[in-house]
Amino acid sequence: MENVLSILFCLTLLYIVVTSRLKTYVSILRTQGILLSAIMVFPFINHLSVHILIIPITSFIVKAVIIPRFINKIVIDLDVKRIVEPSIQPFNFLLLTVASMSVMFVSAHVLSGFTPIEPIPFASAFSAIIVGIYIIIFRKKLIVHVVGFMILENGIFLFGTSVAGEMPTIVELGAMLDVFVVVFLMGITINKIRSTFTQQDVSVLGRLKD
C-alpha cells in the first residue's frame, strides 16, 4: 500500500512539472500532504493508538491544511499573477524530470540489491527532492520557490518514513515545526519584498554581489 501511495505521489510530481498555474501548485502540495499522512498511518493500521497518530495528524494539519492555506493567502493578498513564469520550456522540463526519475528508479533498483530499502518509496522520495530543486532553479517567482522547497521537504519526509529507523516523537514534531516556521518566515519575507520592491521574482534579488 505504501507503494501505491508512493506511485500516486510520483504522479503529483509529474503533474506539477506540466502545469503552470499557481493554484494547481498549491492543490498539489495539499494532495502530497494527504498522501504523506496516509503513508505514515498505513503501517500501523492494525494497531492504532493515540500515540502513533500524533505525528500523522500533525503532519496532516501542517502539510495538508496550514501551509497550503498560508501560501494561498499570500497569493491572494499579494495579488501574484497566477502563472508560474517558467524559465525553461515545460516540455524540456518534463523530459528532464522523466530522465531524472528514470535514473532514480534504476539506482533504487541497484541499491535495493545490497540494502534493505523499499525501492518505490525511495525512488519517489528522491524524485520529489530532485523535482523540488528543479522547481527552485527553473521558476522565477519567489512564492513558487517556497512550493519547490516544500516539495523537497515532502520528498525527504517520504524518504524518512521509508527508512526503518524511527525518530523520537519530540524530534519529529520539532522538525515539522521548523519546516512550518521556515515557510512562515519565507511568507513574511515575500510580503516584505512585495512592499519593498515592485515585483516578487528573483530579478529583484540582484543587489548583493561582488
Partner: protein
C-alpha cells in the same frame, strides 16, 4: 540538572520575558544576566569543575565543552555591546528590528546550546534549523532592500542546505541497516561505538550530504554565498555572532559525522573531501579578496578563508587537527573585534563601501587602531593566537608539501588583497572633490572596551596557552583517533 536548567531553561525563560517586557533596558538586563550565567556554567563545565550527567539526548564530551564555551563567550560579548548598539542614532527604519532583537538572541542561545550538546543527530538537526530561524529576523534588522535580500537568501539557501543534511542523517540510518544497531536511535555515542559495522557506501553518502548541506551555514565554498550576504548585511553584533559561533555550531555537525567515520576505512575519504573543501574555500576567498568593494563582505570572506583553514586542518589530521580546534577559538575572538569595529566605521561613515571610507585612523582613532590590530590578528601576526594555530596547521601539512605551498600562496595573496583594502580605509586621504560627511568626534565606548579585552585575551591565549584549553583540545583529538 541545575546546569541544564541554566543552559537551556534560562534562555527559554528569556524568550518569554523579552516577549513580555517592552523596556529595552529590562530586556538587556535579563539577557545579560542569562548570558553571564550561561558563560559561567559553560566555563565551569569546560574547566571540569562541574560534570553534568550525560543521558540519551545530551552529552558533554570534550568537543561539546569547547564549542559550548566558544558560544557562551561570543554570546556574552555580543549581548554586552548590544545595548549601546541599539541606542545609537538610528540609521534607517530599524525600530521594528529592535523589538525582536533580544528575544531572537535568546532563541539563538537556546537553539545553539541544544545543537552543541545534543547526542541525538535528529535533535541536532532540529536545533540547527532553529538557529537559522532565530538569526533570519536579526539579519533583517536594518529593514532595507539589501538586508531583505540577504535574509531571503540566507533563509532559503540554509533551509535547503539543512534539508540536504537531513538526507545525510537518513543515509546514516540506512548505513546501520542489517547491523546490531539497526532501528536504533541516531545517537552519536551509539554510532561512534559501532561505527565499524556501518555500511561504508551509505556512510560516505551521508558525510557528503551533511557536509554539503551544512556548508551553507559553515560557509565552506562553493556553498558560501548566502552566508556572505547575511553576515555582511546583518548588524555588527549579529555578524560577530554568526562568524564567531554559528558557523562553529554547523561545523560540529560535520565533525560528528566525521567522528563516526574515524574508526572505519571511510575516514580517508572524509578527510580528502574536507581538504578539497578547505582548499576551495581558500581559493574563493583569494579570488574575492581582490574584488570586494564592501568592507563587511571582506570580513565575511575572511570568515570563509578561516573556516576553510579549519576544515583543511581537520582534514589533514594529526597536529593540524589540534591547530584547527584552537583556530576555531581564536577565529571567534578575532572576528568579534573586526565586526565590532567595522560596525563603528559603518555607523560613522554611513556606508559599507570601501571607496567612501577614508582616513579612519585620524577621524576615529580608537576604532581605527583597534581595527588595525584586529586586522593584524586575523592575518596571523605573531603575538596573536591565530599565528600559533595556523602554525600548527602548517606543521601538520608538512607531509604534503605541495598542499602547503598552495595554502601559503593563497594566504599570502589574501593578506595582500586584504591589506590593500584595510590600509586604504585607514590611511587614505579624502579625495579633493569628496563631500566629507562630518565624522563626530569619537568617544571610548563599550565596543572599544570589548575589543581591547578580546585582543588581550587573544594574545594571552596565544602566548601562554592555558593547560585546560590544551588538555581539552588534546582530548578532542583523542576522541577523533589522533595520536599526538
Amino acid at each position: 540538572m541545575t546546569e541544564l536548567i541554566i543552559l537551556l531553561g534560562l534562555p527559554l525563560i528569556g524568550i518569554g520575558a523579552n516577549y513580555l517586557l517592552r523596556s529595552r533596558k529590562a530586556q538587556f538586563g535579563i539577557s545579560l544576566l542569562i548570558a553571564g550565567l550561561h558563560l559561567g556554567v559553560s566555563f565551569l563545565i569546560f574547566s571540569g569543575v562541574v560534570h553534568p550527567a550525560d543521558n540519551e539526548f545530551i552529552r558533554f564530551d570534550a568537543l561539546s565543552r569547547l564549542f559550548l564555551l566558544i558560544l557562551s563567550h561570543v554570546y556574552f560579548w555580543v549581548v554586552l555591546v548590544s545595548y549601546s548598539y541599539l541606542n545609537r542614532p538610528t540609521l534607517v527604519n530599524e525600530e521594528s528590528g529592535k523589538r525582536l532583537y533580544f528575544m531572537m538572541l535568546n532563541l539563538f542561545l537556546f537553539a545553539n546550546t541544544m545543537a552543541l550538546i545534543s547526542n541525538h543527530l535528529g535533535l541536532f538537526w532540529v536545533a540547527s534549523e532553529t538557529t537559522t530561524l532565530s538569526v533570519a529576523p536579526l539579519i533583517y534588522y536594518y529593514a532595507d532592500e539589501e538586508s531583505l535580500e540577504a535574509m531571503w537568501k540566507y533563509l532559503f539557501l540554509v533551509s535547503v542546505g539543512i534539508a540536504f543534511a537531513f538526507i545525510g542523517l537518513l543515509f546514516l540510518t540506512l548505513s546501520a541497516s542489517g547491523t546490531a544497531i539497526a532501528g536504533q536511535q541516531l545517537l552519536i555515542s551509539t554510532y561512534t561505538r559501532y561505527s565499524v559495522l556501518l555500511n561504508p557506501i551509505w556512510l560516505k553518502a551521508s558525510f557528503i550530504f551533511v557536509l554539503v548541506g551544512l556548508s551553507t551555514k559553515i560557509g565552506i565554498a562553493p556553498m558560501h554565498p548566502g552566508d556572505i550576504d547575511a553576515t555582511s548585511n546583518a548588524p555588527s553584533p549579529i555578524a560577530a555572532l554568526m562568524s564567531g559561533s554559528l558557523r562553529g555550531t554547523a561545523l560540529i555537525g560535520v565533525l560528528r559525522i566525521y567522528q563516526i567515520m574515524v574508526p572505519t576505512a571511510t575516514a580517508e575519504f572524509a578527510r580528502t573531501i574536507m581538504v578539497i573543501g578547505g582548499m576551495f574555500s581558500l581559493f574563493v576567498a583569494f579570488v574575492f579578496m581582490f574584488k570586494v568593494v564592501n568592507y563587511k563582505r571582506m570580513i565575511a570572506y575572511s570568515s570563509v578563508e578561516h573556516l576553510g583553514l579549519i576544515t583543511l586542518g581537520i582534514g589533514t589530521g594529526g597536529i593540524a587537527f589540534v591547530g584547527a580546534m584552537l583556530h576555531t577559538v581564536f577565529n571567534s575572538l578575532t572576528k568579534m573585534v573586526l565586526f565590532f569595529n567595522a560596525g563603528n566605521i559603518h555607523r560613522s561613515y554611513r556606508s559599507r563601501e570601501v571607496s567612501s571610507v577614508w582616513n579612519v585612523l585620524n577621524a576615529m582613532p580608537w576604532t581605527g587602531w583597534l581595527f588595525l590590530a584586529g586586522f593584524f590578528a586575523i592575518i596571523a601576526m605573531p603575538p596573536f593566537g591565530i599565528f600559533f594555530s595556523e602554525l600548527m596547521i602548517f606543521q601538520g601539512l608538512m607531509s604534503r608539501p605541495w598542499l602547503l605551498a598552495g595554502v601559503m600562496f593563497l594566504l599570502f595573496f589574501i593578506f595582500v588583497g586584504m591589506s590593500k583594502t584595510v590600509f586604504r580605509m585607514l590611511y587614505a586621504a579624502p579625495p579633493s572633490d569628496a563631500v566629507q560627511a562630518e565624522i563626530p568626534a569619537e568617544k571610548f565606548d563599550i565596543m572599544h572596551f570589548a575589543s581591547i579585552v578580546l585582543l588581550a585575551a587573544l594574545v594571552a591565549l596565544g602566548v601562554g596557552m592555558p593547560a585546560q584549553l590544551y588538555a581539552t583540545v588534546v582530548q578532542i583529538s583523542k576522541d577523533f583517533g589522533i595520536v599526538l
